[in-house]
Structures are given as structure tokens and as C-alpha cells.
Amino acid sequence: MEAARLSEPPDWLERIVLLAIPPAARESVAGDLWETCRSPRQYAVEALQTVPFVIASQVRRNLNLPAIMLQGALIFIFLGGSVTLILLPVLMLRSAYQQTTRPSPRHAIREASLLSAGAVALLLLIMSVRSPFPIRAGVDHFTWLNLFLLGLLLSPFLCIFRAGLILQGDRCAAACPSELPKEELARRYRSFLSGALCRNVLEALALAGVAVGGFIFAWNTLLVGLFGVAAVYVLLDVTPRAIPPDDDFISLRACYRQGLARQQQLRRFLRWLWFTPVLLALQARLAVNGLETGRPLAGLLDCVAAAILCFLVAALNREHGGRVQEEIGLLDRVREKIAS
């Protein structure tokens, strides 16, 4: 049945293949390719035939439709249709390639520095060529200078924030022994379910409260509707799930993993949702106080505030997602401890 392995893939080729495989499937798929490697050529052909399916499957698995729709709507409002068409597939691919571990503080600091420098450079480039933003061309040198200075000043802040999140996450990192009795796994799963239930009920109530408040104070109808629908969506998820009594260790572990992944998707959407009203308010102000209307600094600050908010939500999602993926990875490897 098993194909004989006659050779090992070259290091450089293996590195490329490892980069191409989404992290969630990397361990098993790369191992399978290695096991059946007969020649570098066969390995490359096999990888070329396999990896696209794996990527597509991971995109499907990690597709968080409510979150993607919300992010797409925000990008459309801020940057227009053409940018949305480019960024949506990027976001979907990014979710497929989400890391299975949290980054180290050093990595996070490097990422934050690169991101803030890149964002400033991109903004300048777009604004100097042809701006799709509400801010149009014709901005004076003083504004450019301010933009640079703000970017430089904000970089350390973003780095500290990102590293702080990781250190905070380290303190409540998941601990899971290599062997666990079924009863202990069931106890952990029950505790996770009750925690998720409690959190979902509270969050659904808060969302409903915002929707009702928005209705009374005549906020944007679309936003009020969005919060109302989200409250119902979260409430639908709170139905308590009993653990089937005849489930064995493996089935129980599969349920736990699915539950963790589902809650992660829900939280990702809700984090974006909570910040949506602020982002929309900033966009509305930008539309009025464009940089060319005599109040360039106000517009500039709105731009920067929107970018920081997006960074904050993405960082929170990255840390929480990494922690959940770590927990799923630990569950994947835990063995059943049979009482002697």
C-alpha cells in the first residue's frame, strides 16, 4: 500500500513547498509528500498537484463569511470598489494562512514597524499619483511632513501595543498535558461550553442593547439593522450543546476542536463589528473634512485613527486566533490516559 521512499527532497525545494502549504495542514501534508518522495522531480510534481487543493480547502475552512462581508463593506466605504476587489481575495488567502502559533514579541515588533512604514509609504504614493480616498490631491508640503512625523511617532506605540498583547497572551496560554483521561477532557470541554455560552449571551444582549439604543436615537439605519442581525446571529449560537454520553475520547476531542474553531470565527466577526460604528464615523468626518478643504490636519488625524483602529482589531484577532490555534494543536496531539 505505502509507496517506497527512495530519496529525500532537496532542502530548497522542501522550503518552497513548506511555504506554500497553509500552516494548519503543513505538518501532515508535508510529511505525506516526504514519505512518498521518490525523486526531486516526482516530489515537485506531486506538490504542484496537491498544494492548490490544500490551499482551496483551507480557504473554505477558514472562510468567515460575516467577517469578510463586514471587512469588504468597510474597505469599499473607505477605499472604493476596485481596491475592495483586490483586497477581498487577499483577506481570504490570509485567513487560510493564519498561523497556528502566536508570534514572538520580536517578530510582532518587526511586523508592526514594517506595517506602519509601509502604510505611510503607500498612502504617500497613492496620494501623490491619483487618490481613490476621500482625500484628494493638492495637499501641501506641511501636511506631507505631518504625515511622515505621525507615522514615525506611531511606530513605537504600535510595536509596544503588539508586544504587550503577546506578553499578556503568554500569561494565559493554554496548558495541556500529553496524556489526558477522558473525564478530564469532558470536564474541560464542559467548562469551555459554559464559558462560551455565558459570553455569547452577554455579547448578544450588548449587541441588542446597541441596536435598540441606535433605533431610539435614530442612528444610521443600516448600522442599527446590522447590530440587530448580529445579536440574533450570536443568540442562535448559544444553544447549549450536551456531550453525548457514549462519545469516546476521539469523538469528544473532535467536538471540542470544532467548538473552539467556531467560537474563534464568531469572536473575529464581533471584534470587527464593535469597531464598525467608530470607523464609519471617522469615514463620515473624512468625507466632510477632506484634506483639501482647509482643515488638512483634522482629515489626516482621522485617517491615522482609522488605520490604528484597524491595526488594533487585526492584532486582537491575531493574538486570540493564535491562542485558539495553539489550543487546537495541543488537542490534536493529546493521547487518552487510561486509568490503570
Binding site: 509507496a3 505525506d32 490544500v54 469523538s251 470544532q258
Partner: protein, 114 residues
Amino acid sequence: MDSLGQFEQIVLTAILALEDNAYGVTVHAKVEDLSRPKKATRGAVYATLDRMEDKGLISSWLSEPTKERGGRSRRHYRIEKSGAKALRDSARTAQRLIETIAQNLGGLAWKPPG
């Protein structure tokens, strides 16, 4: 519950037949064996395994890393109760199809395997 597609039936049958030794490489080999003369890519097998796991038909876990795999683990698969039920339903439908075909094409023209 949704009925199984043909490829899903083949992959589930492969996992069932392999018992404790069902992981990417062996499942793919068994699927190729079951779906002869058609070829099945390993990527399609992975995608189907992921989809069936999301539906709760199978479950998976990682083994200990081994040297033969460059220090990487195998992802083992097992059929869950809902998967076994879906496979039984599919087998019943297939059985009815075989009987109907045999009746209409006649025993000499076509014989069901086995």
C-alpha cells in the same frame, strides 16, 4: 443529513477499510485502488477529508513525529457514527442500483462485482 457524493463514499470506504492505519498516504492509495480505472489526486483526497471532518463524518488527530516523514506527524482519520450511518445509507442505495441494473441488463450482459 446530506447524502454523500460518490467521491466521499469512496474516501469513507477507504478509511473504513484501513482501520487504524488511515492517514493521507494510505487513504489516497486505497482511494486510487477503489476508484480504478479513474485516477484521484492526493489534493482532492485532502479536500474531501477536510470537508467530511467539518461535517462531523470523520475525526482526525496527529500521531507522534517519525523520522521516515522528515520528523513530521501523520494525520490519522477515523469514521464517526454519523459517517458510518451515511455510508450505510449510501451502500443501501448502491445495492438497489445494482439489483435494478442486473434485472434490466440481464445476468449475461452485466454482472455486479462480487
